[in-house]
Amino acid sequence: MKVKMTVARAMVEVLKSEGVEIIFGIPGAAIYPFYDALYSSDIKHVLVRTEQAAVHEASGYARTTGKVGVCVATSGPGATNLITGIATAYMDSVPIVAITGQVNSSLIGKDVFQEVDITGATAPFTKHNYLVKDPKKIVRILKEAFYIASTGRRGPVLIDVPIDVQMQEIEFEIPKEIDIPGYKPKEKGHPLQIKRAVEAIENSKRPVVCSGGGVIASGASEELRILVEKQKIPVISTLMGIGCIPTDHPYYLGMIGSHGQKEANLALRQADLLIVIGARLADRALGDTKITDNMKIIHIDIDPAEIGKNVDTNVPIVGDAKQVLSEINKRISERKDFWAHEIKAQKKVLPDDDKLHPYDVLREISRAYNGDYIITTDVGQHQIWAAHNLYIKEPGTFITSGGLGTMGYGVPAAIGAKFGRPDKEVISITGDGSFQMLLQELATIKREQVPVKIVLFNNTRLGMVYELQKRRCSGRFIATCLDGNPDFMILAKAYDIQSMRIDKKDQVREAVETLKNHKGPFLLEVVISPDEPTIPQ
């Protein structure tokens, strides 16, 4: 049945039909008709304090719910403020639909007030984007956007809608099916390749699974567990893959790469077969490990373009990880022994002295919560400490900007995650540098009363870079000391957020208890030494 309505109304109707419950954004003149249409819908709108946070919040929401996250901005500066967030979502394959207002169609290309070519600007890091010129196409385009964002290798899709288009009347009808000739994601792995993979695994002596974010995105953790337990394969992960299997699983060795755990890198070096699943094996993941000719590689990925991009592959399998792994599991035999016992046994014992170390806090958090939380992190040393020391029990509960490495991601992602999973405790692990990149989101926390917990490691440094300068520039420190930090306790108070500061080891337990027992949002500042290394020596 066709009904007459404005494009703006139709947009809201499609969002409703896609099951959208929440939108993050900031309005402006070029998007006001859409906002006006939103007024009379029951979709919740969260007013953020900068558009970058809107994408990160949508991302945190998407990553905890498996749904598409939606964010909105106005034209020009609103749209460009989305860019870092969109690129972050792209690199981590997070399904996002970003809607931007655009200047009047007749003025496009004339450099008028608040005009920017946002589809041009975001083309390299959106899965797809649209500039809507024909009002009649809006419904189909929005539906396509949700479909593209949430299928195959997920990612952000941007829709730019000129203000005059938003105001036009159309005959509204939701299309039943969408058919995009050039977009047919392949979910089922090729049977022959699956057979070859099974043979390669059974014939290997020292197989290793390296799992990435793709395992989590496809919900393949159970299938992965079955495979590695049947074949007794040690599991290593990329930063994005943490939680693919519980971090206390007997076969889990840790994260690989330049900031990875020694055991994991050692296993990678000694393996004769590497099974890469849903990971792109970028430079940082491989670190200085060279893939040699006598190591065979099976690469499973939903995105054919990932296979063979960074490492040569012997058995490429294009398909959804869950699908492919369950097919492999049907055919695979059982193996008797676990080859990586010795490596696992070498696990590092952390130094235990009187000083307050970040891992003291992180391990206490793990203990107190027993993994019943969603963790988000920012980027820096604290991200690596969190990756190494937190107990991650379930897939999808460790949320971090793995691909782009965007400082400022953690707190907004936590807000989004809490909206997505209000039943879960959400803890954001951040550093004093990262926190200050988007700390205005404390206002969103205050306004919406989002009970997220923030653990802020304050080393008065851009720690990760400071550490690099220490090692590589023989202590020629430049631009890494954060003098001028605010008093974070007063800052929290300004936003009505309860807080606590600790700087001694014996305060840890009580502080974590306080954090845990507090009902509303909470900021725990942990003062640590600037010289705390990422990996204890």
């Binding site: 390299p124 899965k127 797809h128 500039l131 995009i180 000739p181 050039g182 995105d303 373009a305």
Partner: protein, 170 residues
């Protein structure tokens, strides 16, 4: 090595810039890119000549396939395809050289499409080598301007690259 890719895309605005952008962004070299609409007005065909090795062509193909507007990408085997390029060449000509140039043009089965007191403009179509050869010969007279379309190509025989995705082409 040069490879010719035949790419079917949806005839939408912005597709060309996406395709061209992909090449520059990922550091692939395009030798030429020619676009035109097909028998189906909603679909355009791009013929892209890429310079690189097997890895590059594979990556280009995969990355192109990732673009939502790209319907199909096919690597053409030069032996199995007809390849053509059109060039317009404006060359200096005076009363002494004019008849030589006309002779050369005839040998190449090219056409003179414009004449002025001091120049001749020649139209030639053919594969790249043929065009290069003509340009080489005309150089001695002084070439004023060359305009080339870039290569277009089509498979020989009754094979077609169509919108429907068949497994064998992948």
């Amino acid at each position: 090595m040069k490879y010719t890719l035949s790419v079917l895309v949806e005839n939408h605005p912005g597709v060309l810039s996406r395709v061209a952008g992909l090449f520059s962004r990922r550091g692939f070299n395009i030798d030429s890119l020619a676009v035109g609409v097909t028998e189906d007005p909603t679909i355009s065909r791009m013929t892209i000549v890429v310079n690189g090795d097997d890895y590059v062509v594979e990556q280009v193909t995969k990355q192109l396939n990732k673009l939502i507007d790209v319907i199909k990408v096919k690597k053409l085997d030069p032996k199995e395809a007809v390849e053509r390029e059109l060039a317009l060449i404006k060359v200096n000509a005076n009363s002494q050289t004019r008849s030589d140039i006309i002779q050369i043009t005839e040998i190449f089965r090219a056409n003179i499409v414009d004449v002025s007191k001091e120049t001749l403009t020649i139209e030639i179509s053919g594969d790249e080598d043929k065009i290069e050869a003509l340009i080489e010969l005309l150089k001695q007279y002084g070439i004023r301007e060359v305009v080339r379309t870039g290569l277009i190509a089509i498979e020989r025989g009754n094979k077609v690259i169509s919108k429907s995705k068949s497994e064998e082409d992948e």
